[in-house]
Symmetry: none
Subunit: 206 residues, 4 copies
DNA sequence: GCGTAATCGAGACGGTACGTCCCGTCTTTCA
DNA sequence: TGAAAGACGGGACGTACCGTCTCGATTACGC
């Protein structure tokens, strides 16, 4: 969407003060819009296109970010572009909840829109260089995920091992899904359920 | 393994000069050589450079593959370019072996060379479009990993649950490492060890 | 007429399958067809296109000619591709006849089809190298033109100077038209008529 | 002189950074330099080489001209690249002067360097398409030639017919030479002298 | 009448230039 | 005076042809 948007907010702010904050926002929302519209992959979303979509000069983008990866990454980390992990259901039965979450996640995210966004995020990280790494490092992505939160809660009420590292467990569960998401196709449900079994029960024979 | 553009119909009676398998191979080995020499990242390895290194015309590359990503990906999947996972030690103590493997993997692969290659692989996947997906889908990358092999062996002698899915367990262990590898910096050893505990013992309190 | 690369020695005892005269003809007619259809300029008529149009292998063309210029030139010189100079009218009044011829030539040839063909011929000469030069040198293009014929006839009956070189006079009349044909647009009739006056009357004041 | 793609409308209020006249000039001088240095023919002078020689991006060339032919043609028509016709001697004897000029022109220009440049010019014309035609149409190439100038002067002092069209006479003299220049080899001096006789004396018997 | 040899159409080969697109920087004009 | 517009130098892309080469199939001649 381009021409129609004469945003009243940006119209007023344009007067006395520089539009800087408005432009900054416009870039992030434009980036999110382009990436979610389903028409463009990461590589197709050029800086020029973002600038045009945001109604912003290219230089304005380079004033705030070092490159496209930074823009995309900030769009993700600030929530303009959500890699929407579903919330974990709360039936009281942890295994059933996790199984439900995995299934839902697979169903929800194995749509082209979500895959494209995940790829974009990874691309941004991969091509972004050192400063994007630090951006992500500060984001505590696993620690704040719905899965980690749930596992932490279960541990705190004693249902899970006291020495459990919730972020590690969440990573063990979610990382394989993410890798599958950006690479191969949707895995079998049985494969995903095995994952839950492993994380909960471990591999040892009893 | 033939190129991604290979057509089963053409197996009948192809007219004209047949495609040169030698050129095909030369491209893959040249790609591997460039990516391994430590001098170039994925983006620095241009199609023209590959062609020059392989002593091949650029058009020949585009005759076999749709783009650079396809070339790199096939180089990986055919083993010309190895993402060298360390072998798992065999002391008899599975936990100790996996811990050792994780530590070694972290040490070995968190060198710029390995990270670069991982980034290249991911870039190829992410920019490659649909046909690279199918290439990877057929690759059984986790099923063939040293970790999956070891877990399968342990299961077969009864030390691990009979219903264990080795590839899922291997994914639970390795995927988080891969994601860290291509994104943030080297994780703490303690974080990695938590991962081993989860995969072996599970999360449940005893 | 055989191709420029034809070797008289080889005509005697050639082994193997003889060259196909049919293919040779097909190439020339295909070249003429492509160049006259109005769709292609000289540069657009590639060897590949000629081969396809003629239903002939590319190598067959290179077996007979050294390059495209040779093909086009032979097509012209053998009459497959005619640079149709109109005949000169024969009313008995030389000046009127030449004026009429000039006007008709301008009208007829300043159509895109003819211009394109003239350009093609010139291109062939310009890009063709030494052997195409000799081809043309042997063709006596001005000596055989309708204008030269007419001037020669008039000279032989004593109406023109006995020492007149008909080919030079024809060149003086036709060359400016050809150059205009391949470069600028149609000249004024008055400009063309001045040309006739100069060739007939000369420039001296009387 | 502005480029062929220049648009009169754009003269009003152009936004953004204005086009660099310096780059425009640099391209033309670089083109002339390459074509004059004797090392390259028209086909050897690639757009990339021009850009490099001019210290200019390739895109900048395509921003001003539609193709290489346009560049070369403008270089010629703006005098950056001179098709150096010799000046006509001034002994007072017009016939002797023109004969001398013809001989000198033949000697001077039938060197590979001049032929190469003439071929380049013709190639540019022939491959340039419609917009190069208009460029040339406006160029008055014959009207400004040394020969036309001399003829005009002689007419103005009454030695040549008052109704003589100098450009037509110059064309009658020079065009045959140009055509010979780009096609066959150097003509006989006698042939060239016949040309002068025709232009001065005309063809009629006296 | 059977091999030998050169041709045929077809199309891939190593090259090279093309014209387009994008990067990240710069230089204007406008509000 | 800050930002939009857009040209700049640079460089990779994917396409189109060039002229050569290699296929299987075909077609003549000489043995």
């Amino acid at each position: 969407m381009t021409g129609v948007t004469e945003d009243p907010v940006s119209a007023e702010t344009r007067r006395g003060r520089p539009r800087s904050a408005a432009s900054h926002q416009a870039v992030l929302t434009a980036t999110a819009r382009l990436l979610t519209c389903g028409e463009y992959e990461y590589d197709d979303v050029t800086v020029e296109r973002i600038a045009a979509e945001a109604g912003v000069g290219k230089q304005t983008i380079y004033r705030w970010w070092t490159n496209k990866a930074g823009v995309v990454l900030e769009a993700v980390l600030t929530g303009h572009l959500r890699l929407d992990f579903s919330p974990v259901p709360e039936t009281g039965d942890l295994r059933a909840d996790l199984l439900a979450w995995v299934s839902e996640t697979l169903d929800e995210t194995f749509t082209e829109g979500h895959r494209s966004m995940a790829r974009s995020l990874i691309s941004a990280l991969v091509t972004g260089g050192a400063e994007t790494d630090s951006l992500l490092a500060a984001s505590q992505i696993w620690e704040e995920s719905p899965v980690a939160d749930r596992l932490r809660a279960e541990r705190d009420v004693g249902r899970l091992r006291a020495d459990l590292e919730p972020s590690a467990a969440a990573a063990a569960l979610a990382s394989p899904l993410v890798l599958r998401l950006i690479t191969s196709g949707r895995p079998q449900d049985s494969w995903a359920h095995s994952l839950v079994d492993i994380v909960l029960d471990g591999a040892w024979a009893r």
